[in-house]
Amino acid sequence: MAQESGTSRVKRGMAEMLKGGVIMDVVNVEQAKIAEDAGAVAVMALERVPADIRAQGGVARMSDPDMIAAIQAAVSIPVMAKARIGHFVEAQILQSLGVDFIDESEVLTPTDYANHINKWDFTIPFVCGATNLGEALRRINEGAAMIRSKGEAGTGDVSNAMTHMRQIGGEIRRLTSMREDELYVAAKEMQAPFDLVKEVAANGKLPVVLFTAGGIATPADAALMMQMGADGVFIGSGIFKSGDPKRRAEACVKATTAFTDAKVIADASRGLGEAMVGINVADLPAPHRLSERGW
């Protein structure tokens, strides 16, 4: 075949290469370098980490291109950036800047309360959040090359990420036990395209890489999500809102690789200083829960 870029295989392949790794939110060049030195597989360049977006309120948008370009120039690992849900012009801008992956993210203020971005229109891959299998398959149907559980970003409370991983995993396991004639109803009920439902039922996994995000703050949280079946983790506020970001970043990278080895995780957990303070998800008033954004 002739040379082709932006194919499904090239986009999904990019996500495959990030597996077993930690993707870290960074707000400046200095943090990006700490993340790269600590062994992050990629950085997410954004102006405010989710914890600050929560604290400061207001409309959260795509980051300043200057800030993204400065981080691209400073590190050799992939650089991701966030666009608002449905804001395809922000995504066009991010693609023109040459970011390696776009996160169509509920952490930013949504732009379109009915539609997500048509991700097939783009050459670069997208990652989208999901709280259940139907949502994950709708995003994949729109062209997402990677799915992440949403969790509840900026809280340091990993309970929602756990709920979403259990939900997605449970629904996948349920599909694998169904007869083909039952999959039609399953597809209808989860509001997902039948072909994708059938593919998941046959393979017992999503057709794209599944990461976890939202509230991960410790090496133990990262290892927990890996044991729950995540292919890798996003850590947003958890690293640079903690007492010793460098050590915590290294520790989370280590725990993500050796996620079944309690001794290694224990060692990684020693003397990390203060974790981010955190907010209990249950104390968040419903309108401030980010994981409910996305349709």
Binding site: M1, R9, M17, D37, G98, V99, T257
Partner: protein
Amino acid sequence: MQVGVLALQGDFREHLNALAQCGVQGIEVRTPAELEKIDALIIPGGESTTIVSLAKTFEVFEPIKKRIAAGMPTYGSCAGMIMLADHIVAAKDGQETFGGIDITVRRNAFGRQVDSFECDISAPAISGSPIHAIFIRAPWVEKVGKNVEVLASYEGAGGASHPVAVRQGHLLATAFHPEITDDYSVHRYFLDKVCL
């Protein structure tokens, strides 16, 4: 012969699957003890900076370097090619490699993800028919030492040609990812011709 896949980060499961498709049961390698069990190694695609850092953390960096120098058959794809190169450019400051192949490799040579692509590539020593090659933020070989055999090159627009599959004795490297396709000819070549 026991083949291992370095399982610190990246698409090591795809390499294990490719081995299985060739009838070989590989094992995951993360520790010095696991390294001792194997006779040949595959270094997967992933992020080379992360793989170096984790190899040091898990104390396999020096042992792998020694085994490679002592003749352990090793294949690296993409990040694995970077890890097997004696010299790298466009690297992170001070980035180390296992080395072994006398080449200079340029990291992210084709550009960022927006420039990643797939195409067919001819590698007569590996396969009679073209190999379907997937290049993801891929490196290429910029300089080749005299004992290095070039198995495939990428012919770019404007006539520029860059080696993307090379072999030096017991070491094999590709800039592309055969493990995420269903063409296992590179793995078969490694098992049948390189692992002697």
